[in-house]
């Protein structure tokens, strides 16, 4: 039933499996159960999926209530396509380990870059923790 023709509405997405990307970078996959006018979402049987390279790991989280303003995007998961996934699924510990390594590598490269820049007498202003602006 099309409630709002010509518009984008979440009403038709209810009770379907969705992938939600949050502003803090997390990826949640769950069944969208309920919405409201602010696009606050209720996700059921949610799983937080961590992607590192070509691997991913799932952490079961249960029921999530997400405040609408923290959602970057969300989309319905095609169950058929999900079955034929290219990415390799690993255990949670493994993926967390991978994530940690990736973070470390990033930090290291950032540090090196900063050092190199400093040597040349330039300076990069440090970005604030607020990533809104």
């Amino acid at each position: 039933m099309n409630y709002m023709p010509g518009t984008a509405s979440l009403i038709e997405d209810i009770d379907k499996k969705h992938l939600v990307l949050l502003r803090d970078g997390r990826t949640l996959i769950g069944i969208l159960r309920s919405i409201d006018q602010f696009a606050n979402l209720v996700l059921h049987q949610t799983v937080e999926r961590i992607h590192v390279g070509k691997q991913f790991g799932d952490i079961p989280r249960g029921i999530f209530v997400v405040r609408g303003e923290n959602v970057v995007l969300l989309g319905e998961v095609d169950l058929d396509k999900e079955r034929d996934q290219i990415l390799q699924r690993v255990s949670i510990e493994e993926i967390l380990e991978e994530q940690r390594t990736e973070q470390q590598a990033k930090q290291e490269s950032k540090r090196l870059k900063l050092q190199a820049v400093k040597e040349r007498g330039l300076s990069i202003p440090k970005a604030d923790t607020l990533d809104d602006f």
């Binding site: 099309n2 409630y3 023709p5 010509g6 009403i11 379907k16 919405i35 409201d36 059921h44 079961p60």
Partner: protein
Amino acid sequence: MISFQSLNEDCTLEEEGLVEEEDDIDQFNDDTFGAGAIDDDWQEQHARLAELDELVRDDPEESGDAASTGSTAHTSALPPPASSSCLYSDIDEREGGDLAESLTRLILGSDPAIAVVGTASSNKSHLPPMLSSQTHPSALASQSSLLLSYQRQQKLLHRGSASLSQINSHSIWENNMGFSPVSVNSGLVNQTEDSPLMSIIKEVGLPKRPPALGREEGQDFSERVPPPRSSSPVIGSPPVRAVPIGTPPKQPMSQVYNHQHNHPSAVHVRASMPLRYPPPFPERLSPNDLLSIANSQLSHSPFPAGVGPVLSQIQRAQLLNAQFQRGPGPLLQGGVGGFRPFFGQSGPRVSLHGPPLSHAPIRHNTTHLHPQHRRMLNQRMQSRGSVDHVGGRGVGERKNRDPYSNLMTEREKEWVARIQMMQLQSTDPYLDDYYYQNYYEKMEKRQERDRDNRKEHTTKLITPQVAKLEHTYRPVQFAGSLGKLTVSSVNNPRKMIDAVVTTRSDDEEKREKQVWNKRRQILYTVEKMYSLLLEVQDFEKKFLQTPEHQRDALLEQHKTNTLQLYNSLREKEWDDRVSDEQCLMIMSVRKGKRLISRLLPLLSQPQAAAVVMAIAKNLPALAKKDKHDQVLCWLVEPVTVVIQSMSSTSLTDLLQELQSSEGQLPRVLQNKFGVTLLYLILSEGERMQSSDPNCQLMDDNRWTELVFSVTRELLKVPSSALSSPMFTPPNLVSLFSRYVDRQRLELLQEKLQITDLSR
């Protein structure tokens, strides 16, 4: 979480400590609460509360302890923490659904529009009578209760002996106090006796209600109307709704919940959901009809549902699921009824993907859409429908396996959609959704152009216009009284303070302010003229829109608008000419120049000519003022049009104006716009001369003389001082060739060739 035993010990310890400080506390009590008679009331009330608690709670020991501790306490400080923390732990055990429910109702009942803060302060002095009175609970009573709890809290904190549990219980109170004043109703008291707020209210001494423990199973709590809102006067405020717009549709949760707790054997699930809102049309939606079938396409769930369905909503959803697993179920009827009050159209029936689908296309209230838009939607719908028919069977089998589907009922979905639709209502579609309207109009025109033979595309735009309700608020006045009542609300705020403006006597500031005032005045005039101008320019579009009989009225309005525009350029009423000063004043502002450029095409010839004359005469001044804005060049286009329609005499006059004052011409030549204007005039003159041999241009010598002076100036002025024009008309050379010899002509040609590119 909170062990009740320890709490008790703490209470008794404190009690002993309290007895010593009784004097202080009593004094404090007396100041705030008045005579000691109040204490008696407290005792009485608390005794009653204890009895109630006994009945409600399963464990009689706890309530007995609470009662004993309560009755021996002198101050009112202790019993509430004790009982509330007991209750708090109690609440913790349950799912907290009751609390949520009661709090929701509290929020529903509150009215932020009316400032009850005023009553709170006045209430402090009237507290004693309030407490003992048995008046109908109102916002005041609850406010007093909140005040009391607040004071209790203060005392406790002041003593600094509050144990953790007490602080915890205070935090609940803080939360409760965070909500604005509550208009508590008897219904609330009946519903649940467990929330801490309720206990406070009981102690305050609200009228006694019989504890509705022996509730009949059939009692329908969802039918109960929430307490009437204390609301601002209807005039100027949005219509008072029984339930605020933002509240979700009500669920009959409480009854199921309590029954679950008290009688675990009988699980009473309400499968029917009566309508809360007054139905806009007579048909009743049966619960069967409310369900939709098409949902839930899960094939697997990653984790088994370890959580047993405790909430009634899930139970209901499951039951309903079970009921309707067989068969496609009835078609959803009248699901769009909720939109009727908004659009005033009879919403066509909506049909689902089912066997009898094809003949009834889904046409949701699309009257507000552009017809082109609607057509496109229908096409899409049909294509989707044909695809879904094939896939529908496969899906239908899967969806039945999801026990958690339909958690969000149709009502709730409609409610969300309704809120989103509300934003689409518009009183003036052109104003609210200009780009949407224009886009579809263009699309229509394009299609018409491409496929000329298809006649069906010539449709008129039908936009439902919600009537613009005039909300004029006139404050209530009593005859013979001084002043007006100050009843303010969100929509008609009243002044609280009369601020008097005192002028500063500083001279320079005065001058500066004068300048600013003048500028503001100019801007104000410009704004007003702009609104008129826009009305006039939109006239054509509107004209096409309005039906036949209203066209005359529109025409009349258009005439008055244009007339007003003309008049605004005149300074004095009797002077029919365009006032120079007025024009200049307007042109001193950037916006004004833009305005003039848009206005010139609409003016009549003599008026437009007069404006251009004024511009020419004062060009140096204008140029100087324009240095900052650089927008004089906007005027070139309309001025060109005007010049081309000028007569020869006026053209000569114009050229004269351009050189009227001393040293004007050099300055004109320095300005881009000036040079362009000059060239335009000359080019027009040349055109006149060459096209029409016996034109009046050469009748008197003025034109010739003026051209001579121009050539002299052009030759005199150095190339660097000559500004490059926006464009150089080609016939200037032929013009000059009439008047000057070859040598000079070549020099002039050089000057003429100065363009933007050559610089």
